[in-house]
């Protein structure tokens, strides 16, 4: 992938995220922050595409970054992290993969079905694991520092 392709990918991803943030009825004030998260996550993704060759790792690191960004943005703007997270990873979500998997299944092209299925599963796993790692770390840190009600039990 050359620089021009990468730029198109990032810009189109940013515009798409902007669209999705309207679709998800994100508060208008938060949209710039959410789109910035998607752009930065895409930059990480493009770098990972260049140097890594397994779909799991290509998506793991952007997800780690996106989730971390979401937590920080949530702290700064005092609003739930979920919305930033959803917007940051929406360009990476394997919507295309999921669709092609099912499409090949319907048309009976089993070789392509298998390839797409593997790729989609790896992408989904990479994204999910990245998100979970950050949320576990944040939970640990937050509950230790605040001594919340969960420790009373």
């Amino acid at each position: 992938m050359d620089l021009k392709q990468a730029l198109i990918l990032i810009l189109a991803g940013a515009a798409g995220t902007c669209g999705f943030s309207l679709l998800f009825r994100l508060r208008k004030k938060l949209i710039p922050c959410a789109v910035l998260g998607a752009v930065l996550t895409l930059v990480v993704y493009v770098i990972c595409l260049r140097f890594l060759h397994h779909a799991f790792f290509q998506n793991l690191f952007p997800a780690l970054f996106g989730a971390l960004y979401a937590e920080i943005a949530a702290k700064v703007t005092k609003s739930p992290a979920t919305q930033y997270l959803a917007c940051a990873i929406i360009p990476l979500v394997p919507g295309g993969g999921l669709y092609y998997t099912m499409y090949h299944f319907v048309t009976g092209d089993m070789a392509s079905f298998h390839t797409q299925l593997t790729q989609t599963a790896r992408t989904a796993a990479g994204l999910a694991v990245g998100i979970i790692l950050i949320s576990v770390l944040v939970h640990q840190w937050r509950y230790r520092s605040l001594k919340t009600i969960f420790e009373e039990e």
Partner: protein, 254 residues
């Protein structure tokens, strides 16, 4: 612990209505369970057990006298709505800090849940922007991106009609995909666009449950196996419906 000021039944009803509203706007299951427990605890309940999946919440709470209350809530449909989710989060946080009379919160909860506008014009812009941008994202030309826009408007109309008439989600998804397929192939036939596949993938991003797939894997890895499995199954079936829907125009138009 201080004697609770409100009966366990009322407290639990409120907590679960809040939880139900949260699922309806796309909250994660562990978040919902946590909210119900926290609210009950803030109101002085001694022990609360919650089990939730995407379509059902069941919870039992016990007050300091040992009296128990059990409630359940059924959830029929959900769609991501961050504006509502944010309000619900703020409300639950406020209740945990200051447990006021459950009856007085009812009205506020109803106001948050009520969404009088059926066709959101901003959502329409979101559909257009999302579809066109993802057409380019997946490698389509600018002509394809332009062609994706009117299809997105139609998907927006169909998507809004689901809420209005409560038609089966699966059927509507297949119908959306088939309509989009016919239009995309039509545009290419008329020479207005280059690649029907690219237009389709841009528009499909709007209806494909990609985020739901990620959520499902995430929930399963977090230990919410039931909820994760149900979400996984739902996203696979919806994707299958989309693929079947698109197969129809391909078979007819070739």
């Amino acid at each position: 612990m201080a004697q609770p000021a409100y009966p366990a039944e009322d407290v639990l009803s409120l907590a679960m209505d809040l939880g139900k509203s949260m699922i309806r706007c796309g909250a994660e299951i562990n978040r919902v369970e946590e909210t119900v427990v926290r609210i009950c605890r803030a109101y002085g309940m001694q022990q609360t057990e919650v089990f939730s999946i995407v379509s059902l919440i069941v919870a039992t709470t016990r007050d300091p006298d040992g009296r128990e209350a059990t409630r359940s809530r059924r959830i029929y449909s959900y769609a991501t709505n961050f504006m509502q989710l944010e309000k619900l989060n703020a409300l639950s946080r406020r209740l945990c800090a200051l447990p006021v009379d459950p009856a007085s919160v009812r009205e506020e909860l109803d106001t948050i849940n009520r969404d009088p506008v059926k066709l959101h014009p901003t959502a329409c812009i979101g559909y257009i922007l999302g579809a066109s941008a993802f057409t380019v994202f997946f490698g389509g030309s600018w002509k394809d991106a332009l062609a994706a826009a009117p299809i997105a408007v139609i998907l927006w109309l169909i998507g809004s009609l689901v809420k209005v008439h409560g038609m089966s989600k699966l059927f509507v998804t297949a119908l959306s995909s088939a309509t989009a397929g016919f239009l995309a192939l039509g545009f290419v036939r008329l020479g207005l666009a280059d690649n029907a596949g690219m237009i389709m993938i841009g528009d499909i991003m709007l209806i494909i449950p990609g985020l739901m797939l990620i959520h499902s894997v995430r929930e399963m890895l977090c230990g919410d196996l039931m909820s994760g499995l149900l979400r996984l199954l739902e996203s696979l079936i919806l994707a299958l419906a989309i693929a079947c829907g698109f197969a129809v125009p391909i078979l007819i138009l070739g």
